[in-house]
Every structure is written in C-alpha cells, then in structure tokens.
Amino acid sequence: MGLSLICILVGISWLLLLPLNEYSRQTYISENAILPGQVHTYFGGSEHNVFRAYRQEVWSLGHRKSEEEVTDGLYDLLQEIGLRPARQPYSFQVAGETIEGTNVYGLLQGPRADATEAMVLMAAWRNFDGEVNYSAVALVLTLARYFKRWSVWSKDILVLFPANSTYGPEAWVSAYHSTSTIPSASRNISALPVKAGALQGAIALDYPVGPWGKRFDKLDVLYDGVNGALPNLDLLNTAVSVASSQMGIGCSLHGMIDHSDSYQDRLKCLAKGVMSQAAGHATGPHSAFMPYHIDAITLKTVGDGWHDEMSLGRVTESMFRSINNLLEKFHQSFFFYILLNTHRFVSIGSYLPAAMLVAGSFTINALALWVLSGRGPVESPGKPKSTSEKLKEKALVAVNDGKDVMLVPKAELEVIERKMFLPAIVVLGVHLISLVPLYVLTHKEKSGITFAFAALAISSYLLPIYLSGVLVRVWDASVQQLQMLQSFSLLFVGATLSTWATINFSLALIVGLLASPLSFIRPITLGTSPTEPNALLNIVHAVATSFVWLITSPPLALFALSWYLGKDITWMLVEIAKGWAAQGVWSILVIWSVWWPAWVLGGIVLVSSIRFDRVPPAFDM
C-alpha cells in the first residue's frame, strides 16, 4: 500500500525536478553532416518583388469561389515555375460529415539527384486555425522558383500545398507510402501521380498574412506528431539554431513567446508539451508525417516584430541546405525528449522513471492484493467481524520449531485456494464492454454524439453499482474474489501503462495519474457500530475514496478537458472521432479501453460491501 503511494508521489516530484539544470541538458547538434547555418543564404533581392507578385496571385486565388479554382491556380503556378505538378483529391467520412479537399504538389528534381531521396516543403492552404495561408503559400512558390536554379540539391524537393492542415497532409503522405488506394468506408484517397524517393524531412510554413504584409517577432516551432511521436531533435535544433544564430530570429515553443528561462516557465513549457503529446492529435501540417518516420516541423510566425517574409525564406533556404547535406537520415539525436525551452531538453533516460513509477504503483498494489486474496478465512463482503477479538478467539496452534514453541492463529496459517474464474470473467467482460463506448463515440453522427456521450457517462456511473450488486448477491463473490478482481484489473493497467510509457510517455503518465486513486480503493463502510474503535476513520476513508472515484472518471475527465480548452463538448467529441478515424490517434483507445474498465472495476470493488444493516469488514492492511 504505502509503497505504491510512495511510488506515485516520487513520480510526481520527479517531474517537478526535471526543469532544474541538473536534470535537463542543453540542446546540441549531434549529426555532423547538418552544419546548420554554415551556408550563406542568397534568397532576397529581386526575389522579394517576385514574392509580392505571387502573394497577389495567391490573394486573388483566395477570393475565388470554388476549391477547384484554387487548386487549378496553384497547379498552373507550379507548372509555370517549371516543376512537375500533380493533384490529389481525397475525402474522409467521419462522424457523419465528410472532409474533402485536393492536395496540389509539384516535384523539383534535384539536378544531380538519383531520385532516391526527397525533402518536402509545404504550406497548407488553410493553416491549423483555418485562416488562408497567403504569405506562406506565396513564399513557398517563390522559394520553389529560386531553388530550381540551384544545382546543389542531392535530394528531390516536393512542394506541397495541402488543402487543409490536418487531413490534407495525412492523405498525401499515406498515399505516398501505400501501394493500393482502395477507398474504404471512412477514407477515399486517390493515388499520387508523381512520386519521388524516400522522404528525409518535411518543413511546413505557417504565415497567414495577406498582401498588406505583417512583420513577425518570433518563429513558433511546432513539433508534436500524431500519437505523441516526435521528430528527431536534430531537426528541431537545426531550425532553432538557423533561425536564432544565423538570422537572429527568436524561436518559441507552444506559443510561449515570452519565455523567461525561469523554473515556472520551464515547467509550464514542459506541461504544455506533455499535454499536447498526451492528446496525440495533429498540431499542424507536419504531424501527419511522424508516423511514417519522416521528421517534420512547422514554422509558425507569431507576435509583432521586425522580421519579414524574406528572413523566413532565408531560414527555410538554410534549413533545406542543411537537410540536403544529410548523408543518412536523421538518426543521431534523440527521438524521445521533452523540451523545457528552445535550448534545453530532458532525454528519455531522465523522464521515463516518472511514468514508470506511476505505472509501477498499480502493479505493486495488484501483487499486494493477490497475496492478500490468498489468505483466509473466506468471508463474503460486509459480514460483521472485528479482527482483534476474532484472532483471540481462534484456536492457537502450537508450532514447535526445534526447542522453542510459538503460538500461531490457525486462520492465519491456512492457505485457501483462489477461485479465479469469476473475477477473470468479470474483468474480461468489462474490458469487452469498454469497446461499446469506443465504437459509439467514434462512429456516431455529429448530431447525436453529445447525447450518446451523456448516456455513456451516466451508464458508466451506474454500471459498477449494478455489477457489484450482481456479484455479491447473485454470485455471492467472496472478499478474496473481489480482491483478485481488483488485482487483475490493476495488473492490466500497470502492464499497459508501463508499456505505453515507452511509446507515448505523456499519455501514460497522465492516464496513470488520473487512474492512480483506483489502486487505493477498498470497499467502503457506511454505518458503524459503537464498539468499532476506528469507525470515524472508516467513514472518512469511505467518503474520501468514493468522492475521488467519482471525480476521476473518464467521462468527467473528458468534460473537464473540453472546459479547459474552452470549447464545447460536442466539438471535442467530433475532433476525437476525426482523430480516431482520419489520423489514427490512439489516445481515445487508451482512455476507453484501459482506464475506463479499470475505473468501472474499481467502482465495483468500492461499492461491493454496502450493507445498511451490518458492520462492514475492514481489511487489516
């Protein structure tokens, strides 16, 4: 018991230690080939005029009616620049609504490249916040025209204009890597007519400013991928060092423009990072690339400053030169890290223990319960019994070991055999049931989704009470069986989370913390007998546990999240459904199929011994 509590506390405090200098590290470029900022950048001069012209073009495109005109316009521009243009229409069917659009992209063949490798330069037509990405698109066009003249490219350059920041890139990159494009119910993605070699990196620009222009202050580097996959730290460092050292443009993370390098800010940055990683949703056009082991980031202009589009262009040019230098794909630096600011990070070795400790606490509890469940006497929950007297009454057996004799209560000695069938079935059943909310919330139409969620929330509160009633009364489960039941579910949670921590640390950590109360749940005891010495304690314990159980419930957590984000619940549910269907985000699975069952089972144990007539048992733990 205590041990697992310690685990959790240590785990949390561990996280709080991470921002300190002793536990975090300065970032550094570990791949020598990159040479960030070593090349002189020439983008500028007359290119600026060209850029303005292209921005005018894009602006006028943006004010056309139909999507087709936009895509055609971009297509023609690419063709005129001399790239090999292509289109890719796609459509997703999620939550009763269809997301559809057409990606326009062009291939710039590296003069000396042998078509084995490629880099991606993209600007989504609509950025993540839904604004039209005028300047970025224009800038990418100008850069493409400028890159065409260079003969240094050892890799092809793919210039991509996704129609949308999330699903466009998803459709494009998945089509790039898939052989057959047979339309399924939820997604219909057409194949790519033009392809190049293996993608080595992708950079997305986000600069939604019209022809009037707007100077920016900092570049916000977005790096979170789908399901918490991260790009290689080298790519991020390259962006930061190119921008800050070469161009003198400051960088920020998670939109924290004023990041005084204090402990609070670091912790805040860390927290934001953990949250967005746990959410596992796309945070920009780059996110879709991560699952395909393509390192990608988005450079987003934030704030008011004195940097103009040309400096952003130079940053991009310099970065492409750097990626172009790569002989091998990004592999030298870290793939698992948490950033405290643009120049400090925590590597997996330092932060993983936090999640592991939290996950471990479940396992420890599970083992303790298992041991407990092996001890007699067999009792059914809620029978009146007080340990102290019982022990005295019980026959003491004399065990003589050698010359000295010792007295041991009989009951303590006998090892009862565990009846595991019932608990196993129940645990399995509940986990199977958990597929119902998962399915419903990912396949329901938008209109009905909120209602469905409400229904699920209520039923998931009622389910434990009902089940425990059935267990205790109908199948009269013994205390030991209940203990086994809880042990099984905790064991499952512990194993799953510790595994998940290696894949998506943040998700494991957060779910683990939210679910941590479950391991301390014991049958509550209402009503006391005056003879009971620690009745008050029992009541307090009971109230506390049940309260905690009530508030740390999956539905409530989702609701709280939506409240935190300041969006209404429907929007969030739809987003989750989209994420599940279109992007393949797993977070929702973890919530409904790992946490929810454990929560329900915990509830069963909690209310298992509510009898209003007798004094409930208390385990001597």
Binding site: A53, Q56, P111, E412
Partner: protein, 600 residues
Amino acid sequence: MKLATLLALPASLAATVLASASDTYSEHLHLKPLPNGALYAGFNFTASTPLTAYESQHFRFFPRSLGQILQFTHTSELHLRFALGRWDEESWGNRPRNGRREGGTGVELWAWLEAQDQKEAEERWSGLVNSLSGLFCASLNFIDQTKTITPILSFAPEGTLDPEQANLHLMHGMLPHEVVCTENLTPLLKLLPCKGKAGVSSLLDGHKVFDASWQTMAIDVRPVCKGQECELEIDQTVDMVLDVERSMRPRDNPIPRPPPVEDVICDEAKGYNAHDTCYPKRREGEMEWGLSRIFGRPVQGSCPAGSRENAVDIVVEIPQERIVDAVPEDALDTVSTTDSQRSYRLKEGQELDLRLPHQILDQAQEHRQTLLHAHRQMTGYGQERGGMHIVITNPHPHSQRVVYLESLPWFLRPYMHTLAISGATIENMYYTPAIDRQKGTQLEILLEVPASSTVEMTYEFEKAILRYTEYPPDANRGFDIPPAIVRILPSNASSDDQGSYLRTTSLLLPLPTPDFSMPYNVIILTSTVIALGFGSIFNLLIRRFVLVEEAPKSPLAVMIQNLVKKVKGAKSDKKVEAAKDSSSASILKDTPNGEVRQRA
C-alpha cells in the same frame, strides 16, 4: 604466352600488315536542343583493331590497358556503364540511341565471357570486375556473387557472337550506390587516341559533364566479323543533357544569386505590377547558346587518328530556320533538309566554335513520344515489411512486348505469391530465388503490354536483419536497390535484334539498423542480467531459510539492541509481553510465505 607461340612469324606478320591496313578510328558529336532550356550532347568514339593484331597484343587505337584485361579474362563482349541523374521522359521525349548506351544510376556492367563451366566463368568475372575497378577508379570490385545475375531474355550480344554457344557465359552486375564523378571520366578519356587534347573529346571537361542534369558514359567492346576477317570494336559513348542556363554561368561566379531587379522581365499585364512587385514572365523563344560558352572552350581541331576522308565530326539537330554561326564559316559540311540536321567537320589544329543567338521560332519544336514509361516506387513503411509498385505505361496505339528485369539484393526478400500484375499478360517468367549472403534475387518477366494502356505490378517483400559487421558505414542512409531494366523487344523481327531499353530509378531501402555506438554496453548489460538471474536462482537453491529472529544478528544490530535495552532499562518488568508481542508481530510480518519459514 610462350615466346614461341607469340612469334609464329608468318601469321603475325600478316596480321600486322592487316592491322596497319585496317586499324580504324572515328569520333562524333551530336547536339540537340531539348524543351525548357536543356541541350542534349552525345559524344561517340569508335576504334577498332583486327582480331589477329589484338591476339598478338599489338595495340594502336584500341587501348592496351583495356585490351589486356579482356584477353586475360577471356571476355569476348563487354558493356560498361556509368550513369548519373535521370532522363526526363515527359519533357525530353525519346531516349538517345534507344537507351542502349545508357545504364542504371551508378555503375552497370555486363559481359559475355568464355569459360568451360560456370565456376571458371565466375572466377574470370571476378577477375574482370577487379581489374576494371582499378582501370576506371570505380569500386566495381564490389560486384560480387551476391550482385551478379545471368539474365536470359534481357540482353543479346551486339557483336557477331553466338549466345547459344556453350562456353559463352553472360554475367551482369549493378552498383547503384556508386557515385559517378570526374575520376571516372579521366580514365575514359585516357582510352581515347587523342586523350581529349584534340577532336570533339576536347570539349569533355569534368566540371561541365558532372554539372549536367543527366549524364551517362558507356564503353562497349564487341567482335565484328565482316566475311572472313574479324575485328574488335570499342565504342565509347558520353551522353549528357545540360541545363543551358546553368552551364553558361561564368566559371568564376557559379552561384545563382537572385538577378538584379532590372534584369527580371516583369509581366506588365498584371494589375498589381509595380516597382516592388514583379510577376516573372517566362522568356519565350529559343535560348542563345554556344559551344565555347557551354563547354568552357571551343573544339581544339580534329583528332587526326585514323582515316579522315569524309569524316563528319559534329551534327547539330535543329529546325531549319534556326541561325547558327560557325567560326570558321567553312566548317559547315552539309545541311540535310530531311531530318533538319547540319553537320560540321573539323580541321587539324583549327578551333571550331558554334554560336546560336536568341531567336523566336514560329512553331515550337515537337518532341517525339517515348516508347514506354516505367516507374518503380517502394511502398509501405516500418522496419519489417515493404512493397514494390511498378507502373509501365504504353502510350502507343500498338501493343509492345517487354522484358522486365529486376535484380534484388539478398536482404530484400520478395514474396512471390504476392506478385500481382494487372493489365498485361505474362508470357514468360524466370525467377531465381535469393540465397542469404550468397546470391541475390533475379526476376525476369516477359510481358505483352497492350496498346495505350498502363500495367501495374506489385509485390511485397520482407527486410532481412543484417549481421553487425555487414552494415556499411552509412547504414542509416538505407541500402540502394538497383534499377529495374525494361527491354522493349523489337517488333515483328525487324532488322535490329536489340530493341530499346529503359531503366527505372534506383531505390533506397531502409533496413533495421542497430545503434552502432554501444556494442560494449550491450555486452555488459546482457551479461549482467544473465549473471543476476543466475546469482538469484543459485542462492535460492542453496540458501537455508529461517525465521527472522532465528537468523544470527549482525554485530551492528546487536549493538543497537543493547543500546535500546539500556535506554528503557526501567521498563524491564514487561519483558515477557514485549517478547510475546514481538513474536506475534514477527508472525504477522512473515505470514505471506509463513509456510516456507515454518519448515525448519
């Protein structure tokens, strides 16, 4: 060779007489502007020597260094290719020389060797690749058995060889990873009689050649028999497509800086056109270019080797109305009206330069549709599986018979049951499965591609895990998969039995790679884990388990206990209960596996 045999007098005398008669050499340059600012330049050098002179090792125009290698390895026909970049069918149209003189990315080599049996042939083949790698400064010696295949349908000897002949063995190998560069061009030039000092070869300068968008060097040696007397012919080809604008940049300032604002031609038609806003206008008409500006120098006179009567050195293929000023004027030889070709001939020791001014032609030049398109892509992601996706398009209104040859390294294991071909019929298929670390996969498919249709071929494969030492230094780059070779068989048994070739681009296969930085850590870790496991098990087996208070106390514990006793010496009367409590407490503490502890 024994001296006696060498000096079989009359024969070799006759040979030399013949040789001096019929040692021939000729060279040729073909220039052709291609759409959007590209220029095709095809160099070709052909030398030949009578077989008799060759056998008695008297070399004149035929390079001795190569000739000896061929003799030593009993190679009767040789084809060597160095290639860089890719041919852009969409805009450049048909491939030069029907793709017969081009190779896959990197280095490609195939040859017919004389040998009694396969084993001997393989020995000679390895000898050939090793000595060639020395000659051409290329790592050809990496073409080992795992990279060597023996195609059946894809290649036919160009010379007068009888492929059915039992003791002729065809060997083929590719090195996609090899980066072709200047050090490969120099040996090629050294093989020429004029060594790039005179004749059209004087235009071949490493910097220009390797700044080209597409470039391939070929060496073909074949025996040609006219009636009774046979001769050995070596055919050296350098084809390239130059980006005119890029290669006309001055040598001292190659960086494509943004041009000054006034040099950019703006499109005034645009409404927003202003002093600071300029929509770049695409320049129409033919670009201006000239030999000396593109290649850095004019042609240094003719190469006087061989007979020079009615020799044509340079052919420019351009529309009739295009203006060409040759310096000197009299270099112009003939203007053929039919296929819009103008031929020029060089004089010894007299430079020649061609200049074509910027000019707007009324009708844009048409470019001939290519015979076939072939694209090959790798699909899937992850460390274990992948897929190959080949698309062959036949734009012509008549069906074509095609041989598709794939030579895969052993660590890419295709699943043949997943091979699916849509849109065409397999006439014939040869498949040699791979053997790990010994042989690669060879897949050869004879297809009938219907008229104006697209054929899709897909198969899945598994990625092998290599041994620690088998990874190259740049393991994380991935492993290059050699290009697939597509041979378009000649229709209705026409005059040439070669048909035309095209090759897909090479691919990059990422394999699961270990972290090479820490083998020793791994050793330590694993062995520590093993040791831990062993230690605990061993102790469990041999220890004796006793109750806590039975266990002998460590001296420290004894001391502390005494101290405690001293402290509460006053309450010494309750010693008995204390003892009892302690015992019960101990029981409670131990009960989980009380039975174990009770067994003593």
